[in-house]
């Protein structure tokens, strides 16, 4: 078995209003960062994972996202997998 480091990002679908991002955008503009465009705020999930190989790890992480880490009704996700020590 190999050890992997996994980073998952989960955020609201583009079609879903993100009030947190909206509020932070307002704060940035009021601080003078006039150029700040739309802000979206999501979750960053870090974990370690044991798996046969990178493909198996990716399959598991995708399933985790579908079942638990994200709610596909309102959220979208992306992840990166890196073998430990490499």
């Amino acid at each position: 078995m190999k050890q992997f480091e996994v980073e998952v990002k989960v955020w609201l679908k583009p079609s879903v209003f993100d009030p947190q991002g909206h509020a932070v955008h307002g704060a940035l503009v009021s601080l003078g960062f006039e150029g700040a465009g739309e802000v979206r705020i999501g979750k960053f999930i870090q974990m370690t994972l044991e798996a046969e190989d990178e493909q198996a790890a990716a399959r598991q992480v995708d399933e985790m996202c579908q079942k638990v880490l994200a709610n596909p009704v309102m959220e979208t996700y992306a992840f990166e997998i890196k073998e430990r020590g490499q």
Binding site: L12, V16, F17, P19, Q20, V68, L69, N71, V73, M74
Partner: protein, 226 residues
Amino acid sequence: MRWAVVVFPGSNCDRDAEQAIRLVTGDAVDLVWHDAEDLSAYDAIVLPGGFSYGDYLRTGAIARFSPVVRAVAREAERGKPVIGICNGFQILTEAGLLPGALLANHHLQFRCEIAKLRVETNDSPFTRLYQPGEVIRIPIAHGEGRYHAEHEVLDELRRDGRVAFRYVENPNGSVDDIAGILNARRNVLGLMPHPERAVIDWMGSEDGIRMFQSIHAHVEEGLTHA
């Protein structure tokens, strides 16, 4: 008839629901812990409000994997009335027993107030004693009650008359002012407002009484015919 009020780690409206049901219907009510695997002895099931599992990750996301939720799904499939209030509604959507999802209120504020609701249908075990179009007053208390669903889902809900309640003044940014919805079979209701907090005059409203009476009447009718 016998009611089950499911208790998750973090439920905090379980006793309110239990007492309201006893007071209003005189029926037997059991508080059932989240690890229960069989709810077949019950005629109606309540998923109460609160913060199941601390609402970590997303509201209702962890509770969905409790053994009791599988049991709830089985009884729902048998046609028994299941009502999810506030966090219970969030759990029902996470579990896929109701469509859509509940998100943070659009203004990011926690809202705790009496809301006016329009009863949209009395064609359900939960609303049969109300008049369609009637405006009732039921308290809300939530930070994540903004109902969201894709266009196709909304079209289906509207077409089939499955929006049970709409807010008269939308307190959280819910799409189409939706406060409560029914499943396709109409025996599962999810709603953000708390009918159990509107059953005695001093609470500020007694408009929640008929919701529990409706369920009672529906079940008793079924038991008589059986």
